[in-house]
């Protein structure tokens, strides 16, 4: 009733090698919700396992499934349960901790598609055409979504915005 499992060993090896990377992507896509990230990774891996004998590039397939799955879940729920975060760290906390908390909160305020584009473009350094293929949309949509997502992120993270502007200015001055 369940079908063959001849590829189980290869699947295990693939998961062992790649899941440390993909749990990081899942964590970003779910705006820092550890449980939701585990669900997303496991469900995406299960869907990859379903097609294990048919797919040539399991990593690309898993990436595509994960991004589309997250957007689909978000559409169905119509809201996103952002993980509870501690209040912003006090004055004696390190700057990195402050920034991490602010960025995580900001991710939770983006749409799932904005998060997906942001992670693909800026965290994974994927080209616009690759992002379009992964998400099943046009390059124009990727470009506009990336622009809006980044602008929104910077608006929600003043610290990051200041750094971004200064870095950009420094780059232009060189």
């Amino acid at each position: 009733m369940i079908g063959d499992s001849a590829g189980r060993r290869a699947f295990d090896e693939f998961v062992a090698a790649r899941s440390p990377t993909f749990i990081r992507l899942a964590y970003l896509l779910t705006a820092g919700d550890q449980h939701a990230a585990e669900d997303l990774l496991q469900t995406s891996l299960a869907k990859t396992a379903l097609k294990w004998h048919k797919i040539d590039d399991p990593e690309a397939y898993l990436r595509q499934v994960m991004y589309r799955q997250q957007i689909s879940w978000w559409r169905r729920r119509r809201e996103y349960a952002v993980a509870e975060l501690p209040e912003q760290a006090g004055a004696d906390a390190t700057y990195d901790v402050d920034l991490k908390i602010v960025v995580q909160k900001a991710l939770g305020k983006l749409t799932a598609k904005q998060r997906a584009v942001l992670v693909l473009r800026y965290f994974e350094d994927q080209s616009e055409s690759t992002v379009a293929a992964t998400l099943g949309c046009s390059i124009g949509t990727v470009r506009s979504t990336a622009h809006r997502a980044l602008a929104r992120l910077l608006q929600l993270c003043p610290e990051l915005h200041d750094l971004y502007i200064r870095t950009g200015e420094a780059r232009h001055e060189r």
Partner: protein, 380 residues
Amino acid sequence: MNADELVKDALGTVADEARLPAGVAGAAWRQRTRMRIRRTATTAAALVAAVTVGVITVPSLVAPDDPQVATSRIADGIAADPGRATPVQRVAAGRVTLTAYASCAPSTSDCAWHVLDPDTGRYGPTPWGWVAVAPGGRTAAVLEKTLPARRIGLADTAGGTVRRWIDLGRAAAGSVAWSPDGQRLLVTTYDFDPGLLDDPGDVPDERNSRTGFAIVDVASGEAAFHRLPGGPGVRSDLSWSPDGSLIWEDSGERQRPRKYYDLTGRTQPGPAQESLSDQDAGLSPDGRLLAMGGRSGSAPFVADVASGETTLLEPGGGHPIVRSLAWADDTHLIAWMQESGDSSRYRLVLVRVAGEQEVTPLTGWTDPRSTWWPSFTSEP
């Protein structure tokens, strides 16, 4: 560091907080198994005493080469067909009877439904694309071979004659489930064939296959349709809650495995305990034990609702339990067992979850070249 690298670095500091769960490969593989077998169509029904083949004494079920098998006996008896890869003779335990099953060829995804004839106690082939047997075991709601179907047939399980058709008009049915009282049908509607084994394409399908559902009053034939789109590209059948007041779907989410709706499709909280179960079996008939499991690499388990104490389903013998399907009574589960050594052969078993776990095979090991998945009917 340029501006883009700054954003990457900021995202990286968030990603650094992620923790990789243990056993994710095994848990994903089990979820894949679950996706393939889909949710078993369990309906609440009263078993007809005359149909019962009778209690089969347990020693006759125990194969000499199955050291993990222990004796087990429950009040309403056991009927098993443990020597065959696909059942031919009636399979039942306690309140639950295997009333139909779909036998499928994984290579072609072509499935053939078999239904239990209550007069002969044997399963026979049918021409249908979906079968759900009603309370009492004598009537089956059937859909024609090509899904989604525009009408529902009410067929006699003894002989297979269709006694009546219920026209669904513009709606197209991909599955049917009987309400616990046997008075209504829950029809999950789709806009293209959702398939039975898995999604047909080699790439993720973005289409939202499920369109919604219909509640059909069997006596009058009247149907009320409600829009409730499902996830992309996969079969996502809806099920009745045990009391027939709500319907639910498998959400695929750990914190809320079942998502509940009222009979018009509005989201509802769902029963407090039952909604936490990610196993088909759900809550035991007496409401004391909840079938859970499989996450983070662990075996399925049962949780005591009152105390919170959990018991892993690990009966020993090297053959793991992979999924809890239905409660035969308050302390026995019908489950899929996997042959040891990472085999792709499985069998239905009855597991006693109280005290020392005992296993009784209900069917033989499946043939890896073909697959079948069960449709149960259970008494309230």
